[in-house]
Amino acid sequence: MNASVEPAAVTATPVRPAKRRKTLPKPVAFLARLCRERPLGAVGALICLLLLFTGIFADLIAPQGYNAINPIDRLKPPSAEYWFGTDQLGRDIFARVVHGARLSVIVAFAATTLSIVISALLGILSGYFGGRLDMFIQRLVDGWMCFPDLILLIVAVAVLGPGTWQIIVILGLLFGIAGSRIVRGAVLSAKQNVYVHAAQSMGASSTRILWHHILPNVMAPLIVLYTTRLAAVILAESGLSFLGLGIPPPSPSWGGMLSLDGRSYMFQAPWLAIIPGIALTVVVFGINMFGDALRDMLDPRMRGGSGRYMARVKRAIGV
């Protein structure tokens, strides 16, 4: 601690320790470290920011909206006027991609947040309280996880019908239940810690223990889970839209833009097929890279794997 004491003034004002040396605020320091150690992850973060930006300012970037039908200019290739060309209804694909970004952002973040909340709830209930509740929930999750994601999604859409809110809820539920396992694992291992036992024996309430001891340990896997889910949700939503079961047209979902209805036009105008796919790939790539880098940096610094051999080497070199 670099506290130095200033000499007391004659008028006996209270002595104050000198201000602490200026350190970068934590998020900035974190980002700096990210750029230095995991440049690909920084690129990923940049892509995510770009996506967010495009999504939020979609109306400013492409004011004409995503459904400006213009039959005169149908199926025009990319040019200075139409950066990404036009589709079979003459709509500017660039505008559709931009608004599609907004759609992705809304659906992805909403569904992912919902899924994380569900995962956290289920995981904590199951992991912390254990016993019959745990067994019950785990059995349900077991049964649920027997089903392939897409099949569940398709059936759910068949039952609930297409539409933005339905999709968000369905995706949130699906990934939420699947992710609860991971949270449960983290809760179980956090529960093993001695300080939890200590708190319990001191009579701390469950809420207090959960909030102060369990939740901080679960935050890191939750954050990592968030990023992987984000990518998965985007892919799932686009897959559904591709099959015609997502948000109904004329929504500018990127997956929908690639759907089979437009297949015949794609032979004439390949940019219809190429561009939305590139958008999807770049976004998923970016999220994955960022998520990977995040996971690497949040893990305790375990370079080089585990095993006593490496532990001894590390001790030998003073790590």
Binding site: R139, D142, V159, S238, F267, G277, L280, V284, F285
Partner: protein
């Protein structure tokens, strides 16, 4: 080993039951009534309560929910999944006709994925940080981000534009003409397999790296074994355990992939059946396909568990 197999089989049953309840429950959630739908679709449409009551009775829907479930489940166990609402063919027959296609696609894709991923993953690990390793990793990162429906679409469209070639779409059953059959499946399974291989490759590499740092590998080197022995005999067997788990987890994803690929390449599999049924609201078929996919996944998980028993001797003696 025999006792282990039996235990695993028995453990399957509760999961099966819960899965079937999920299937039954989800489909029953349809807002609005199947009955109304059927009545309105049929020629003699009348909203007369007697007709409705008659239809209800005929479909067994007048009984309480749990009885309906038991009735349905009882039939299902005996292989009777009801009849298609519109086509009056038994669901089992419809499914049976398509199951082979989906399975073939899935198995081929998995084989391709393993053939690509395992050697590359192992090689990446033992030659860490070399060119080969970095190439492999770049490939898998890319393959993970590319949506498989996009890849499939591109493969259909671009070659047609560039070279005038299209993948064959008429499917010949396997037993009639294996060569023709495999030709039809080649491109679709390659696409499905490639995205799958990315995941397996990363996992293989990670697990191999971790295993290679273990103490017993160091013992193997100290004994003077050749690299080939160290890698293949000592490392691979232990690294495969989590990889096998991964394969088990991937099978549901594989199923999702088959739905999409079947659509793109017009293969008459379960995926197509499901999608048709969704658009025609053919609930018995939807329910049937849903259930069957769950059962298949469970069987695969069983096989995975049994592989564990072989690979990891400790498991055989435990619970």
């Amino acid at each position: 080993m025999g006792a282990y197999v039996l235990r695993r089989l028995l453990a399957l049953i509760p999961t099966l039951v819960i899965a079937s309840i999920i299937v039954f429950g989800v489909v029953r959630l349809v807002p609005g009534d199947v009955l109304d739908l059927m009545l309105s679709e049929n020629a003699y449409s009348s909203n007369a309560p007697e007709d409705r009551a008659q239809l209800e009775k005929a479909l067994g829907m007048d009984k309480p929910l749990y009885m309906q479930y038991l009735h349905w489940a009882g039939n299902a166990v005996r292989g009777d999944l009801g009849e298609s609402l519109w086509r009056n063919t038994p669901v089992t027959e419809e499914i049976g006709a398509r199951l082979g296609v989906t399975l073939e696609l899935g198995v081929l894709a998995l084989l391709i994925a393993l053939i690509i991923a395992l050697p590359v993953g192992i090689f990446s690990a033992i030659r860490q940080e070399t060119l080969g390793d970095n190439l492999g990793r770049s490939f898998s990162i890319l393959a993970l981000a590319i949506p498989n429906f996009w890849l499939g679409t591109l493969v259909v469209i671009l070659p047609a534009l560039w070279w005038g070639w299209s993948p064959p779409t008429e499917m010949t059953p396997f037993f009639e003409d294996p060569i023709e059959n495999l030709k039809t499946f080649l491109v679709p399974s390659l696409i499905l397999g490639t995205s799958l291989s990315a995941v397996i490759m990363r996992m293989t590499r990670t697990m191999m790296l971790e295993v290679l740092r273990q103490d017993y590998i160091r013992t193997a080197w100290a004994k003077g074994l050749r690299e080939r022995s160290v890698v293949l005999v000592h490392a691979v067997k232990n690294a495969m355990i989590p990889v096998i788990t991964l394969v088990g987890i991937l099978v549901p994803i594989l199923f999702g992939g088959t739905v999409i690929i079947e659509q793109i390449f017009r293969l008459p599999g379960l995926g197509q059946l499901l999608l048709e049924a969704v658009s025609t609201r053919d609930y018995p078929i939807i329910t049937g396909v849903f259930l069957v996919t769950g059962v298949v996944v469970m069987l695969v998980n069983l096989i995975v568990d049994l592989c564990y028993g072989y690979l990891d001797p400790k498991v055989r003696f435990d619970r």
